[in-house]
């Protein structure tokens, strides 16, 4: 019986996490090495170890795995009441303290009869001794309810998934359960945004968190915005003239800037945070037109320069700058701005813009030696400059081509 259950769990995770990878590589002939990797992934121990790639407690999760399988029967477990109590405490802290900005696991042996939930100065800590027990309990509950297909109380499912995601945010199963509840309206979007931010404070490089936020903007918040944008302001979206200034919605603006702040924050917290920059790109592409592409580009260009001058070896940040340069050039080409100087001060033409970038790049290279990312960026700049100069040398003095009609979003 037990064995059968475990196999089912594995298959579930296998389909969830590995299958997408597999699908991408479907046509490529899988090498022997890869095949063994899949097979290993299918083993339970590996799948638990897979959770914890940034924080250092794979051992704890191995223990909880032992508990779930029930193979080691001597492992004493914590009472269900205590587990629930700890989770309730965390839930209460999360819902009451709106300024909560950090979560982490605090090392402790659990030798004192004290609540393992530590809440100090808007920071939330969880003592390490209870993690494996409570996680094992919550995990078993979630999987049990999924298997029996019984309709659990939404509040309880939220509590269990909340705890499990704080510990292991890489598991998409838990996120999917929450998505269902978000769709039903059992969970408020604001609380969920706050919760995902808290997870990022512990694992700023977690892709699933950004994915979840993206999903929320597409499916939950996007449904709210059009009504509020059209309703109280009384502005018809058809009046939108391309600059995006007329179709102004405070809420989108607030979302946009909060999201950009979050991305900067996450990028600062973890080196080479590709997912954070990727998310930033997506946010700009989705929402910048509503706020005003020119304003956003100006602010972002400045911000990006500041960031790069203190993170010289991170390619993700430089790639973002490349995207910004491209979009500034396309704005000029589509004559949405009359001159580059509207976005970048004291720069009159696109060629000058590239020259300025090259100077900036040279300064950085001279100051910080041996950083490959800077040279890659230089290569990009030179390529673009060459294309510009070779294809149409007279473009800078000729009138810009007619504007391309592009719908917002």
């Amino acid at each position: 019986m037990r064995k059968g259950k475990i196999r089912k769990f594995n298959r579930f995770h296998y389909t969830n996490e590995v299958a997408c990878v597999k699908r991408n590589r479907q046509r490529r002939k899988t090498s022997k090495l890869e095949r063994t990797r899949y097979r290993n992934h299918n083993k339970p121990a590996d799948f638990f170890l897979g959770f914890s790639h940034t924080s250092g407690f794979p051992l704890l999760l191995c223990d909880s795995f032992i508990y779930i399988t029930g193979k080691v029967s001597t492992l004493t477990t914590m009472e269900d009441v205590t587990c629930e109590r700890i989770m309730k405490k965390i839930e209460a802290v999360l819902s009451q303290d709106t300024l909560l900005d950090e979560f982490d696991i605090v090392f402790s042996l659990g030798e004192v009869n004290r609540s393992p939930v530590v809440h100090v100065e808007h920071k939330l800590g969880l003592e390490s001794w209870c993690v494996k027990h409570v996680y094992a309990y919550a995990y078993a509950k979630i999987m049990g309810s999924k298997q029996t297909k019984r309709r659990e109380d939404p509040a309880q499912v939220l509590r269990w998934t909340q705890f499990c995601l704080l510990i292991a945010p890489e598991v998409t199963t838990f996120w999917n359960l929450r998505k269902v509840l978000l769709g039903q309206g059992d969970l408020s979007a604001n609380l969920e945004l706050h919760f995902t931010r808290l997870i990022l404070s512990r694992k700023p490089k977690c892709m699933e968190v950004f994915q979840h936020r993206k999903w929320m903007f597409k499916n939950v918040i996007a449904k709210v915005i059009p009504q509020q944008a059209n309703g109280p302001n009384g502005i018809d979206p058809e009046h939108h003239n391309g600059n995006g200034v007329v179709f102004h919605s405070e809420q989108i603006e607030r979302f946009l800037f909060a999201e950009l702040d979050l991305c900067t924050w996450a990028a600062n917290k973890h080196q080479n945070n590709y997912h954070s920059w990727n998310h930033r790109l997506w946010v700009i592409q989705q929402f910048a037109t509503y706020v005003g592409l020119v304003d956003v580009c100006r602010a972002e260009y400045e911000e990006s320069h500041k960031w790069i001058s203190v993170h010289v070896s991170e390619h993700s940040g430089l790639h973002y700058l490349q995207y910004l340069l491209d979009s500034i050039v396309s704005l000029v080409n589509e004559s949405k701005v009359e001159n580059v100087s509207e976005i970048v001060p004291y720069v009159n033409s696109v060629t000058k813009l590239y020259q300025r970038e090259l100077d900036f790049n040279r300064d950085l290279i001279e100051e910080y030696e041996d950083h490959e990312a800077l040279f890659c960026h230089r290569r990009f700049l030179l390529t673009r400059l060459r294309d510009l100069l070779c294809s149409s040398p007279q473009r800078t003095c000729s009138p810009p081509p007619p504007a391309l009609k592009r719908s917002p979003g």
Partner: protein, 384 residues
């Protein structure tokens, strides 16, 4: 759709099994039950059937005139129309549960008071639109009322309680959890008129003072359960009066009564010999001395089953030693009592093997070596 009577009967008490049926049937199920069962249906529980609406229940009320117990807990879609129909067609209604039906207002209670004079038990918890007029009418129309459950009625005031007390003298079960607007006046009226009260919950009614407890002790000597969590103005004097006369108290919840001290415990220990469950969570002034009184009292050895002491910072292992003689103790909560140690809990468990001790200690894994060493002493192997 057609349901056998056996099915209906089986589902009556649980309610939850209806859930899916009622959700998919969109209320038609309820109408069908009404049509099939007609006058023979006496009890029905539709707990948690959120899609059941007024139309279904109106048809149901017309068909099932003899219904006695109806549970509409969490049926959030129903409004006053349902209660009007019930009052018009179901005069034999005895027990009605409208918990969390947030659209119910005073009009419902007025209608019920007109049409259902036999009503004995009503639950209108969290129907926040209910105010004085509705409860007044209910009290006038349903004098047989024995149980009134009104948790979270924020606009319920003292005059409503006074009229309830005047007309419904048989009240035994009263729950006024989180009715923050009531004060001593209302509770005094209840205590003076309804002397049969067995269950009283006044948790979270923060304006109440010792006067309430003193008057309760003078009149309601049959009180078995008293819940006064978060009534932070109650002091030792009130509980002293209570313990002097209410000797049959079995369950007392004193969570968050911040002012009580060991004196309360000594009074309760001497005055309430049948005490089964006592909650002292967050009573920060309680010390080992108070628990000693409890340990040597008459209630402790036979009756005391549950003791909640979480977040009492002054409790130490000595308390646990005082409780060793409580043979019936099944559960003790010690969360966040930081002076309690593992050794103390171990000692308690060795004396009371069936006890469940709840505390924040990391569960310990027994050493596998122990098991092996025990096997070595296997008698039969030695003999062979």
């Amino acid at each position: 759709m057609w349901y056998r009577c056996a099915d209906v009967r089986r589902c009556l008490s649980t309610g939850m099994s209806w859930h899916l049926m009622a959700q998919t049937g969109n209320g038609r199920v309820v109408e069908n039950i009404g049509k099939r069962c007609g006058g023979f249906l006496k009890q029905l529980s539709l707990r948690g059937c959120q899609s059941v609406n007024d139309a279904a229940l109106v048809t149901f009320a017309e068909k099932c005139n003899n219904i006695e117990e109806l549970n509409l807990n969490l049926c959030k879609n129903i409004t006053d129309t349902t209660c009007t129909a019930l009052s018009r067609h179901c005069p034999r209604l005895v027990k009605l549960d409208l918990d969390s039906c947030s659209q119910i207002t005073d009009i419902s209670l007025k209608a019920l008071s007109d049409g259902c004079p036999n009503l004995e038990w009503i639950n209108v918890s969290w129907c926040e639109n209910i105010a004085q007029n509705g409860v007044d009418a209910l009290a006038h129309g349903c004098p047989k009322l024995k149980g009134f459950v009104g948790k979270g009625l924020k606009s319920l005031t003292d005059p409503a309680l006074i009229s309830l007390a005047q007309y419904c003298k048989n009240l035994e079960h009263i729950n006024l959890h989180s009715c923050a607007a009531i004060s001593d006046r209302g509770v005094i009226a209840l205590a003076e008129n309804c002397v049969m009260i067995r269950y009283l919950c006044l948790s979270n009614c923060t304006h109440l003072t010792d006067t309430s407890l003193v008057v309760l002790s003078q009149h309601c000597t049959h009180l078995e359960t008293l819940e006064v969590a978060s009534c932070s103005l109650f002091t030792d004097n009130g509980f002293q009066a209570l313990a002097r006369t209410c000797h049959v108290l079995e369950k007392i919840d004193l969570e968050d009564c911040l002012l009580i001290t060991d004196a309360t415990l000594s009074h309760l220990a001497s005055g309430c010999p049948r005490l089964e469950k006592l909650s002292l969570s967050h009573c920060e002034l309680i010390t080992d001395e108070g628990i000693r009184h409890l340990g040597v009292s008459a209630c402790s050895t036979e009756h005391l089953a549950v003791l909640e002491l979480d977040n009492c910072p002054l409790i130490s292992d000595a308390s646990l030693d005082h409780l060793l003689s409580c043979h019936n103790l099944q559960r003790i909560e010690l969360y966040d009592c930081q002076q309690i140690t593992r050794a103390g809990i171990k000692r308690l468990k060795s004396h009371l093997p069936n006890i469940k001790v709840h505390a924040y200690f990391a569960p310990q894994t027994p050493q596998p070596a122990e098991g092996r060493s025990r096997q070595r002493y296997c008698r039969c192997c030695v003999i062979l």
